[in-house]
Structures are given as C-alpha cells and as structure tokens.
C-alpha cells in the first residue's frame, strides 16, 4: 500500500517490532538526543522546530516551536512539560498506538522538548482507560533511565530529566490543556480562564508547555533529518509533515494511516481505508474527531490539511476520520455525539452545562417523533448561545454535530417532525395538548 514513507509508524510496521529499548536503538532511536543534548543550544532546537513548521497534532494545531517560545526567558525556577496523552476525542486512537507500540519514540520526543525549554520534569498525562499504555510507558521510562537517556546527568552531559506517567480517571475535558493541569494538581478537571496562559502560569503556577503525543513523537525525526526535510512533506508552509489519520466507521479497513498532510479525503477513505464496507455509497464523514463539523460526499476532494478542511467548513482537529454510509440516520448520529458531549461537560460554564442537556432532550424528542418544527429554530438558538460563550473550546465543539447535520441533512429532521405532526393530527385535542 504505502506510496508515502511513514515516519512515526515506520518502526512498528516492521514485523515483530516490540518497541523495546534495544529495538528502538537498532532502528536509530535516541540518536537525536545524542546529537543535541549539551551540544546544540536549546534555543537552536526551538528555532529548528519553528523552521520545520510543526503544528500541534492534538486538535488546535498551534505551531509547536512558537508555543515553546512563549515561556519567559531567563526564568530561574522549575518549568514543566506535560505530554497530553489524554486521547479521548471520539474517533481518535492514534496516540494509543504510538504509546503502546513505540513508547521510546514518544519519550525521546519528550526529552528533546524538555531540553529545548529547559525543563527537568515532565508528566505524561495519559487517559485513565489506557492502563496497558501506562504500563508500557512506565517500563520504557525505567529502561531509558537505566540506559542514561533520562534521570540525572543525561548521557554524562549535565542535563537532568525525570518523566512520570500520570493516569487520568475518565474525563474527556482533561484533554483541554488547563483542565489537564487542574487534574494533574489533584483537582476536578475544570478548565482555567485564560490568560494567564500555561506558558507563563501553568502547572503549580510555573511556566509549562503542553504538547500532544504525536507532536512530540515528530521531534526526533525533525532533529535527525532536519527542519527542511520536515517542511518539504505535506502541504507546507502551513501544514507540514505527515499526519496519522484514524479512520473509523463504515469502511473496509478501519485503522491508523500515516500520510502527508494534503492528501484528499477520497484517497484516505477509498485507497488507504479500503473504501466503503459492503460498497454502499458514502453519506457523511467527520474529518477531525467528534468536535469537527460533518462533511458530505461533495467534500471528498478536500485536502486533509489545516487550511483546506477549515475552508470546507470543518476542522482537521485530532485527525479522527469517521465515515458513515448511506442509510445512517443523521439525527441519531448527532444525538449520539451530543450525548457524549452532555456526559462529558465539566459543568463549569452554564451555557455548556445546561445547554447540552437541552440539546440532548430536544434531539431525543425529535427522534422519538414528538418534535415540532419550531424545535429546529430552538436547536440553532441554543447552539448559538453556547458556542463562544464558554471558558474553553468545549462549547464550540458540542454544537458542531448539530449545526452541521442541520445544514446538510435538514430534511431528515423535518421528515421526523412531519411524522410527529401527522401523528398528533390523529390524536384527540386533549391528548395533543399534553405533548
């Protein structure tokens, strides 16, 4: 299959690769760390990452090196790096594979980032359900420490780094960076009001960088092969590099596919993921995890890079591509996602906490054929009063499934409501009044 050279998945695609330290080293692992620690100035590592054009792979797509640059210069106290491994966005399962199958690649990335920002402590905040992943990472940390890649005086070059694996306990919101910090501090995972941004006041009020697993895993390759190499892949300058797309839903071969950014949705779905299960026509797909608006078959030629997907009215987000075949009930699909968001709303902001409940109730009513035409306007009004009115981006995320399904499949909502109206017309006036 792959016309494109995989970068992050390369080692694990070798048959029998277990991700042990010895195998990772044999595949060229920890060369990047040896190349830079104590030899290249940390500021130059940051400059290299800026030059590569690497953008965050967790969802927001912020330029990684630029984010590091926001840390206060000449700060003397402790700084922290948090690896965001709280992968909980429905449709996304790439970080799990990176951590379970090639943990040292992630650790080397963390070590490089810590060196660049001058941090001696990193926490991997991994979602609580990934018990296996946390065990594998714990083991890898111990291996790397014994080999002198972590701990005191790394490679004998006077640099220290401790990495700790910290398991969350089941809360989607903890993937939001400030909620992650609150949770790591032993509290409820409620997002903080920004500013101050974590770069100036993060974990324990100290300067902190939070990077996604996949983002960090790219670093050893950027150091080894140079920023120009990285910037030449994908759709530079704004969407450089490869991306691991997680394909789920009604396709023949669901799974993780690493491709250069800029391949089309059609290529990803029909070539890499093998096309539609049972060769049914495609009805809808989500290009970037549950928070991204739905797209239609008309968007199959949209390029999977940050700008193109945004231009098509959705977002690249976490890279979770969910595919739905003809016959999928879009009101039901929107409800399923809405139930997720309602369940996971942290409760801090009223529009999200209360609004998500009203959205779920309204959708359930429509789906149960008890809706009214004015419900559709209510849905839009509710969505408009949630998006942009909350502390974090969760509010914007939760309205995406409803607004986008209403945009493209409004007739499905209307058909359900018309059935409800027809049913009501046959009822006695008193019974109808009870609805």
């Amino acid at each position: 299959m792959p016309k494109h050279e995989p970068v992050l998945l390369k080692n694990m695609l070798q048959p029998g690769y277990t991700g042990s330290l010895a195998e990772y080293e044999r595949a060229g692992g920890y060369q990047a760390l040896k190349k830079v620690v104590g030899k290249v100035a940390p500021a130059d590592v940051t400059a290299m990452v800026i030059k590569s054009g690497l953008r965050g792979r967790g969802g927001a797509g912020f330029p990684t090196g630029v984010k590091w640059g926001f840390l206060p210069k000449d700060y003397q106290g402790p700084k922290y790096l948090c690896c965001n491994a709280d992968e909980s966005e429905p449709g996304t399962f790439k970080d799990r594979q990176l951590m379970e199958r090639d943990p040292h690649q992630v650790l080397e990335g963390i070590a490089l980032a810590c060196y660049a920002i001058g941090s001696e402590t990193a926490y991997i905040y991994i979602r609580g359900e990934f018990v296996l992943g946390s065990r594998i990472l714990d083991k890898a940390v111990a291996e790397a420490r014994a080999a002198g890649y972590l701990g005191r005086n790394i490679l004998g070059r006077g640099i220290n780094l401790d990495i700790w694996v910290h398991r969350g306990a089941g809360a989607y919101i903890c993937g939001e960076e400030t909620a992650l910090l609150e949770s790591l501090e032993g509290k409820r995972g409620l997002p903080r009001v920004k500013p101050p941004f974590p770069a100036t006041s993060g974990l324990y009020g100290k300067p902190t960088v939070i990077n996604n697993v996949e983002t960090l895993a790219n670093l050893p390759h950027i150091v080894n092969r140079g920023p120009e190499w990285f910037a030449s892949i994908g759709s530079p300058p704004k969407s450089a590099g490869t991306r691991i797309f997680c394909v789920s839903g009604h396709v023949k071969r669901p799974g993780n596919y690493e491709v250069p950014m800029g391949v089309t949705c059609r290529e990803l779905i029909f070539e890499h993921a093998g096309g539609m299960r049972g060769d049914k026509p495609l009805k809808a797909f989500i290009p970037g995890g549950a928070s991204a608006p739905f797209l239609t078959p008309d968007h199959l030629d949209v390029k999977l890079d940050f700008e193109s997907v945004a231009q098509a009215g959705s977002m690249l987000g976490s890279g979770g591509v969910t595919v739905m075949e003809e016959g999928t009930d879009m009101v039901w699909a929107a409800l399923r996602l809405m139930e997720f968001f309602h369940h996971e709303s942290c409760g801090k902001c009223s529009p999200c906490r209360e609004g998500s409940s009203w959205l779920v109730q309204t959708l359930r009513r429509i789906l149960a054929k008890r809706g009214r035409m004015e419900d559709l306007e209510t849905l839009v009004q509710l969505c408009n009063n949630i998006a942009g009115r909350t502390v974090c981006a969760f509010g914007d995320a939760e309205v995406a499934p409803i607004l986008s399904t209403l945009k493209y499949w409004r007739p499905e909502y209307e058909a359900l409501i018309r059935e409800a109206e027809a049913q009501r017309a046959h009822e006695l006036p008193m019974a109808a009044a009870r609805h």
Binding site: Q14, E87, Q97, E100, H166, A169, S248, G249, R336
Partner: protein, 176 residues
C-alpha cells in the same frame, strides 16, 4: 489502613510530585485496587495523607467516571456506546450482554461477578464494537467472542481474547 499496607508505594507516589495534592488520583486508584471501590474511610485516610479536607477528596473523586464510589462486580464490563462504536453495532452488543448476563446496564449480576456499564468513548474507534473489562480492552467484538470471553472469565478469571499492544491495521494484514 492503606498507610500501613502500602507504605513504600505511597512514598514512591508522593515522590513524583512537588505538591502533595497531585498524588490524589494515584492514591484513589490505590484505594480502588485494594477494595474494588473507594470507600468513605479510604477517602478520609487519603485526605489525612495529603493534608486535604475530606470534601476536597470527595469533590475530586466524584468528578471522574473511572473511580467507583460503590462496590462493583468482580468483572466490570464497560461497553463503549459512542457514535463510532454505535456505527458498527455496539447497541446490539449491549443487548446481547444484557440477555446473557440477565441484567440491565448499570446493574450487577446476582452472583456478584459482573457489572455492566454503558460508557462514552474509550479511544478504540477503529476496532469497535469494544469494551473494557477491569484493566483490559476487548475489541472487534462479536456475539460469539463475547460468549467466549464471559466463559473464560467465569472459569479462569481472565481471557486470552483481551487486546495486546494496539496496532491496526496490522502490518501483515492479520485479523485478531
């Protein structure tokens, strides 16, 4: 009680963080591992260990779905019901499990062996329908596979059908 039984482990956990409260989730997990759930006594003890008030521990413990504040069965079956798993049949699977176990979601079987829960996304969308049983993932489930898992668990307390380090699609195209 935790303090005596897990002295070294608790010290090791505390050593990871410059601020004690950060050890709260790891200690709650420890309490859960010990008793299968987190009792009020355990929360009070943890509060003492971290110099927090019991409400501070309670408010955190109640926020997270993986922390059981009441006893669950020996095997906690958590089936993902989010859209991605639902597209490939998780609703049917939940129905099958309810029938096999003779309980509804949220209930525990009379013998105390199985608790069935419907949960939101577990990050295994490419291999749905799936469920987590205690610490392990079981993916690409079918009714037949579920039957074998339940029988294995009853007989051996574990099942070989649990999923190992995740890789999908497999490089050689093998299907588990």
């Amino acid at each position: 009680m935790l303090r005596e039984k897990y002295k070294t482990e608790i010290e090791e956990i505390l050593s990871r963080y410059p601020v004690k409260r950060s050890a709260l989730l790891p200690l709650l997990y420890l309490a859960q591992r010990e008793a299968g759930y987190i009792s009020e006594e355990a929360m009070q003890e943890i509060a003492g260990l971290l110099r927090l008030t019991p409400p501070q521990v309670y408010e955190t413990a109640t926020f997270y779905t993986m922390l059981n504040l009441k006893p669950v069965g020996k095997f906690h079956l958590q089936v993902c019901k989010s859209l991605m798993c639902a597209l490939v049949g998780s609703d049917t699977l939940i129905g099958w499990l309810e029938k096999k176990l003779g309980i509804k979601s949220g209930e525990t079987s009379k013998d105390g062996l199985f608790t069935l829960s419907k949960v939101e996304c577990l990050g295994a969308c490419g291999t749905g329908p799936m469920m987590q049983i205690n610490d392990d993932y079981y993916e690409r489930l079918t009714e037949e596979k579920v039957d074998r898992i339940l029988a294995d668990l009853k007989r051996d307390g574990t099942s070989a059908l649990k999923t190992g380090p995740f890789m999908w699609p497999e490089p050689n195209g093998a299907k588990p």
